[in-house]
Structures are given as structure tokens and as C-alpha cells.
Subunit: 387 residues, 2 copies
Amino acid sequence: MAITGDQRLLKRINRMALVRLVRSQPGLSRAELSSLTGLTKSTVSLLVQELIDDGWLCEDSILVTGAIGRRPTPLRLDGQRLVLIGAELGIGSMCVVRMSLDGCILGQEYAEFSVQTDADSVLGMLADLLGRQVELVGTENRHLLGIGIGVPGSVREDVGILVVAPNLGWRNVPVKLTLETALLKRGLVDIPLFVQNDCDVAALGEVEFANSAVGDPLLYLGLGVGVGAGVVVGGRLLLGATGFAGEVGHIQLQADGPRCSCGRSGCAEAYFGLRSMAQSIHCDVEELQTKVKAGDSAAIEVLRAGGKHLGMLMHNLWVTLDPGAIVLGGQTCSLGNYFVDSARSTFNELAHAANLEVPPVTESRFGSQAVATGAAALVLHELLLPI
Amino acid sequence: MAITGDQRLLKRINRMALVRLVRSQPGLSRAELSSLTGLTKSTVSLLVQELIDDGWLCEDSILVTGAIGRRPTPLRLDGQRLVLIGAELGIGSMCVVRMSLDGCILGQEYAEFSVQTDADSVLGMLADLLGRQVELVGTENRHLLGIGIGVPGSVREDVGILVVAPNLGWRNVPVKLTLETALLKRGLVDIPLFVQNDCDVAALGEVEFANSAVGDPLLYLGLGVGVGAGVVVGGRLLLGATGFAGEVGHIQLQADGPRCSCGRSGCAEAYFGLRSMAQSIHCDVEELQTKVKAGDSAAIEVLRAGGKHLGMLMHNLWVTLDPGAIVLGGQTCSLGNYFVDSARSTFNELAHAANLEVPPVTESRFGSQAVATGAAALVLHELLLPI
């Protein structure tokens, strides 16, 4: 009997549901999957065998027990055979990581560029890094599922166009097409490639590579030169009508506040964007970092004051979105605890004034690689989406 | 052949998909529905006949045309046979409406109460109003689909408990159970009853009773004594981890701003909640309304200043959520244009400073009945949700 389009779709949905279940509950057996999904045991067996053949799942070695009979075989994600590549296109730097399905970093490469460089040259550099990582996947005898790119601006995800990246000065750059063309020249074809905003992919990284249940909605705040948010609700990104959702660096924290690079005043980014904080003590970002490491009291005070405003932003996003968890990431988090501690205490004070408890606030487990690993998670996310 | 659980679910999904399609494109024929859904013509015919029998759809009278052969019969929502009841439980007043599937108000009743009244007495009053409207549905020979209640606070929707309504001073009130018990005493049983936050249901009203495509995300702002938001994304409410999402009246617009009733300072509600605005010129809400109608310049200036802060709030929610449309509703909107015009111009100025265009901003088409009609829409929303 010929398989119809509907049946193919249903099969895909069921396959991906099984992967998600095994991922969230490693060790499930085929029988348990059958009772959890309502699928017959023979359907589950068939699909699980396919998923094992394709490299998604593997069987845990059967434990020898004293019990009579064969113990049901526990299943888990296969961390060996399939690979995801993720890249952060940052403001003056780029990072590419090679990752396993279960969230381990297998390899990475880093490069810097001047923010004055034109988009084509920067994407050419990125394609070189990507190409090398793709070739490494081949030499390791693994299979590449796809490439994800996190970019510092808003994206039309259907076509992979970066609409505007203020801190790079880019507008309407066809990131997906440019990279695909460059990879084609290296003979690398038919690799699924996805492009999304940096904070959005970092939020996905927290969800897709989580070791245990994560808060829903999950709010990721990216804190660096730019300030932005990624929100995952019910397993999906909150992107807004035009892909601009999460531009929280331009939430106005005070009507007559300091001038922001966007033309407005009092934006969050004007208070605690890394460049704004550096400028407020007449230095650049690198100098600020040096001063903080040297224990310079003025620099530390700038971070503390910036953190207070971050606390106010966290509060405002909390009452708006009621996130189940807040995750902080980005360059500013790595400047010691002055900034984050100050933010936490302002956030707590505001909540306690209203007799409320804040949700859990953590720092990204992937640290400075939150965006690159998140971009790898974007591939997984797109492939595991039911429809 | 016996019908399985899966088939029942699939049938329900397909029925509701057909209703949604006919609602958004009145005049579709069975053949067109078949090609839009991929369902066979015989399945569509069967389901459409059931939907006609059940009162959801009707056939438009066939137009006499010069063409040869029978013209396909256009279908549309039936506005005659099925009824939705919606209620707003407000701060000192309640309103119950009887509505048709296509968003016409068939009847309504209004009552006031002192905010000092205990929850049980207020819900008793509401049950009386609901009971009368339910009985009217019967005398008109129509069929009631269900009752929706919009309440001024956060809700645990699975059990219909109002967790906290600060402006009523209520905590953990079992609204659903109390009303169901009161209706039972009138012999009214088995009526589906849904409870949700007032701004959330008003947002649903804009989506479910829309005459044409609406923005997505849709952001509804409820402006009265309390200030709150309802957000519909991809056809679903954004409720947050604990049902508190949309508490935007407590977004802090300035760190050292005026004291709010919640215990914090500088909250949006402290700037332009109706009671806060009245208190700022030493009067109560009714006196403020009288003054504004009389053209009192101090009262008008208070509204204009409040509107500026609303503009800032709209801006902050815009950069966070990127709504496709913003809808304003609530008591404050009906105090002439001073408030809303001032908000619009602040919002536009902020966007233009960054060279951006704001999304469409309109006032709710249901005016002061946005919550009651929205509560009726909640019933439709729950019944039309695929799963």
C-alpha cells in the first residue's frame, strides 16, 4: 500500500515525538514509549529501529540483573554519530562550534574582524570557518544534520535575511544565501542552514540542550555591547509580527534618560550596554574590561550602577511575560559578579516590595558560547518541530 | 467499524478547522473547503452537514444567476441558533452579555456593587444575572454553548480560581466552582464555564470576533483603575508560567517614580491608573470623570500627562513583543481623546526618533464592553482550540 503525504507527516511527527521523549527521559524502553504515546508496540519498534539506524538514538548496554527474563532495553540520545554546527556572528568576532545531539561541544574555532569590514568579507570568513568544521565532521565519520547561525539583529527567518544589525551597521544582508553560495564553492551542498537572532538561538540552546525540565516561558537575556532577549513559549520562539520581538535593549527605563545610539533616550542599552558603560567613564570596552580586572573602583561602580538598571529591566520583563526561568548570558556577565549581583538584588527588592517571589535566575551554562551553541540548537529545534 | 479515540479527536480538529475557515472566509463552498483542507469532498460534506445540524454553520440562500447549472452553495457562520454568554466582573460593577457566534450582542444586563462586598455575595449577584441570561436563551429557542467570565486579576484557568485581584482585595476565590454551584441551585447544569483574566479575554474578543485578519501578536491594553495587557500569539493566549503574564500596570517607568498601591514605585498604574490620576488632583474617579466632561483644565492636563506615560508603556511593550496590532480598551479610553491622543503622540515620537514605524493602534470595537464580549469569545476560543 502506497504511503500518503498525511502518513509521511504523521510518521515524522511520531519519530520526532519519540526523540523528544527519550531526550527528556533517558532510559525509556520501547514498551514505555508505547504506553506514553499511545502508539502500538510494533509502530514504536519500527520507528525506534529507524531512529537507531539514522543515528538519533542508541541502546544502552543491557545491565546484567539477577531477575529472570530479558530486561527491557533502555534507549538514549546517541551522542556519537550525528553532528550540529552552530555559529555566532558577533560584533567584531565569530565563533563556530561542532556539537553532538546531547549538547557536548566536539570542537570549535574563533576569529576576529574589524566592525568596519563589509558584510560580504565577514560572511566569506565565516564560510571558511564553517567549511573547515563541516570537513572535520566528514573526517570523523559522523553525519552533519545542519548549520545554524546566530546574528546580532532581527531576521526574516523564512529567507534567512538579516534585516538590520545596528551594532554592525548592516541592513538587509542575505546571510543564508551568501553562506550557501560560499559553501557550494567548496563543494558542500544540501546542508540545511538556518539563521536567527543571537538571543533567540541562545534561548533555544537553554531549552534544547537542557539536562532537566526548564522554565516555560524561558527568558534569555543577552548582555554585551547590545542588549536583547530571546523568549521560548510552549516550545516555540516568540518572534513577533516582523521578527523584532525581544529588542528589550530599547525598553525605555526613564523618559529623560541618557541618549541611546538608536536615537532614543533612556533605553536599557544606554544604561548598561557594554559600550555605553565604558563610554560613561571615557574608555572603550577593552579598557573597561582591563580596569575591572585590575579592581578599578570607578569601573566597578559603573558595573554596579548598570546592574541596577538590569534589575529594573528584569522586573519589567517578569511582570510582562511571567517567565518560568530567566537565563543571563553574554560578555558583560563574565566581568566578575558586580554586574549580575547588583541586578539580582534590585530585582529581588522590587519583587519583595510587592510581596512577590522572583523566578529562578541563572547564568547560561554555555557561558560565552551561549549564542554559538544556541545556533547549533536552532538546527535541532527546526528538525524536531512537529510541524 | 467502531470509531477510535484518535478518530474522534481528528474529527473534532477537522470540524473546528472548517468552522474557523468559514468564519475567516464567509461564502466558501464545500468544494473550496475540500481543496483548502485536503479532506475528501465526502468527508467535508458529512462534517458540514453535522455543523449545520448543530447550529454552527448555515447555507446562504443560493443566488439566482444566469449561469447554467447549480452554483456551489456558499456557507457562513450561523448567527441565529447558538449563543455565548460572557461576563465582566469589574471593580464595583458587572456586565453580562448574550452573543451570537458572529459577534452580535443579543442582550445584556449590568449591575453595580460596593468593592467592600465579600466575594461570595458578589458572585451570588453575578450568578443571578447569568441565570436570567441563560433562561432567556431558552425562551428564545436558542442553544447555549457556554459561559465565560473575565476577572480583574490572575487566574489558574484549569480550575477557574482567581488567585489574586488586588483592586478587589480578593485572594484564591474559586470563581468557577462558586458560580457552577449557584447555577445548579437554579437547575442549570452542564453548562461549560470558563474563567480568565479580563485583559486576556478582551484580547481574545478582538481575535475571535474580528471581521478581517488581525495582527499577530495582538496586544490588548486594558486601561481603567487597573492597567493590564492580554496577548494572543499564534491563536493562543500568552499566560506565563503562573498566569501572571500581562501585569504591565506594574512595569516600572521610572526607578524613583510615584508610589504604587502594590508597594513598588514608578509603576505604570501609579502614573495613569484611573484612581492614581484622580488622586493626583485630590478627587475620586467619578469626580475626575465629571471634571473632564466639564472641561476642567487641571483634569484634562492630568489625562494628557498620564497619556504620555501610556505612550512610553506602549513603546516598551512594542520593542518587547513586536505586536502586529495594539488595541486599547477600558474606562479611561472613554474620557474623551486627551488621554489616548497624548499616548499616541508619545509612542510615535519614540518610534520616529529611532526611524521606525509603529504598528496599528486602535480602540476596541466593543468599547466599554470589551471584557464582557471578550468573555463570550473565551467560550468560542476554548471550543475552537484544536487540542
